[in-house]
Symmetry: none
Subunit: 218 residues, 2 copies
DNA sequence: TCATTGACTGTAATTGTATCCAGTATTTTA
DNA sequence: TAAAATACTGGATACAATTACAGTCAATGA
């Protein structure tokens, strides 16, 4: 988890969810400012940016009322008494905090009802992909990448690597000159690995799952 | 009860609830127009006024996205009528023979151990994608496309369409001039639909699964 | 046959909103 | 103790969005 919210930030978040519940749409910056007594809409803007940094909301640039409250816990109501069957599926890893093991429980967003042997080789967990650096390999922002934990990777494979404190998904290339991690998007430069920085292969990509909830793919 | 909604009005209402579910806030007039293929936002405005007259929505004057869907019946979430396909999972459709229904048993390649509600809206079957015409949408040759059967599709959605005897996956675009199916790859030309040829929407894409057996992704 | 309604196109004025910039003060963290 | 983050004021601007007005076209019912 990231930093906890400050009291004021919690008030802003509560106002957003409250407005959503009572009005059916999120508030504007001006409405937040008015409700909480700010004289400037910019105060609201900065609170929203802080909430976004802490991952509790999303902001849609340019869209009026473009605020989405991110739902961390599934909070399922219908299947209240699920008898804790061992079939909890694959863990979905969201934002990975700097410098901690990928599979630490605090990163687990939810579980996906998939058997581990759905992919081959076996998938150990699912990683939510951020950014478009692998766009041309058909891996888009928000996709779930099925990861098989191994350090035994080959040239051309899509690997999950840790460089220093960052986790990244790239195509692997080892030559006499060393290791390079290649993006599949001309907007991104290849990463030349400096082993002294701390470098690890976390695993290899064995599958992709994409599912846009609600409206179909876009 | 007031007058029932016209088909078009129902589509507008569905779009509003759909946007609410997927984005967390209602659409603007311009977004409604874009999604349903109107050239004028005023068409959306007039549909909204009609929906308001019939009591299914409220409009908040002056507020952007100021649309509230009025809830008459609670519409309990208990999913009563499950299609009972839970046991064998989703059918994977391979090569579809010319001029026969997609879901005919002879096309079923195998079954995939996935619950139908893994995707939202519900996936009815998986279609193995041939070719690279949707490459830039992150849909590659051999991917499994999760398909929700419906003929109610909106502009910009990825649809599964039948033209004459061919089944194809494309981005849907309806305007005053007619229907076009757009590839997501500059090497492919848009398809202008000639309704006399026989044209059907089979469904809408709701997810993607890719898993290269054996060697990881390539 | 004419008025009405539904379903639009197109233009445009006005207002709503996001979002930047430049400050100030206080509190937290390194 | 300096740097960073929090919590604002105030102003400005460009774009987003609502919504009125003026039409067109087709179907429907009186």
């Amino acid at each position: 988890m990231t930093k906890p919210l400050t009291r004021r930030q919690q008030e802003v978040l509560d106002l957003i969810t409250g407005t959503l519940a009572s009005h059916g749409y999120p508030p504007t910056r001006a409405e937040i400012a008015q409700a909480l007594g700010f004289r400037s809409a910019n105060a609201a803007e900065e609170h929203l940016k802080a909430l976004k940094r802490k991952g509790v909301i999303e902001m849609i640039p340019g869209a009026s009322r473009g605020i989405r409250v991110v739902n961390h816990e599934p909070a399922n109501s219908a299947t209240a008494s699920e008898p804790a069957t061992e079939t909890q599926g694959l863990a979905v890893i969201g934002q990975v905090a700097a410098g901690s093991p990928v599979l630490a429980t605090e990163h687990i967003d939810h579980y996906c009802p998939l058997p581990a042997d759905f992919f081959s080789p076996r998938a150990d967990y699912l990683l939510r992909v951020k950014g478009l650096s692998m766009r041309d390999a058909g891996i888009l922002d928000g996709d779930l990448l099925a990861v098989h934990r191994t350090s035994d990777v080959r040239n051309g494979q899509i690997v999950i690597a840790r460089i220093g404190e960052d986790v990244t998904v790239k195509r692997f290339e080892r030559s006499a000159k060393g290791i390079r991690l290649l993006a599949e998007n001309p907007d991104f430069e290849p990463i030349i690995v400096d082993p002294s920085e701390g470098f690890d292969i976390e695993g290899v990509g064995v599958g992709i799952i994409r599912g846009d909830n609600g409206q179909g793919l876009h």
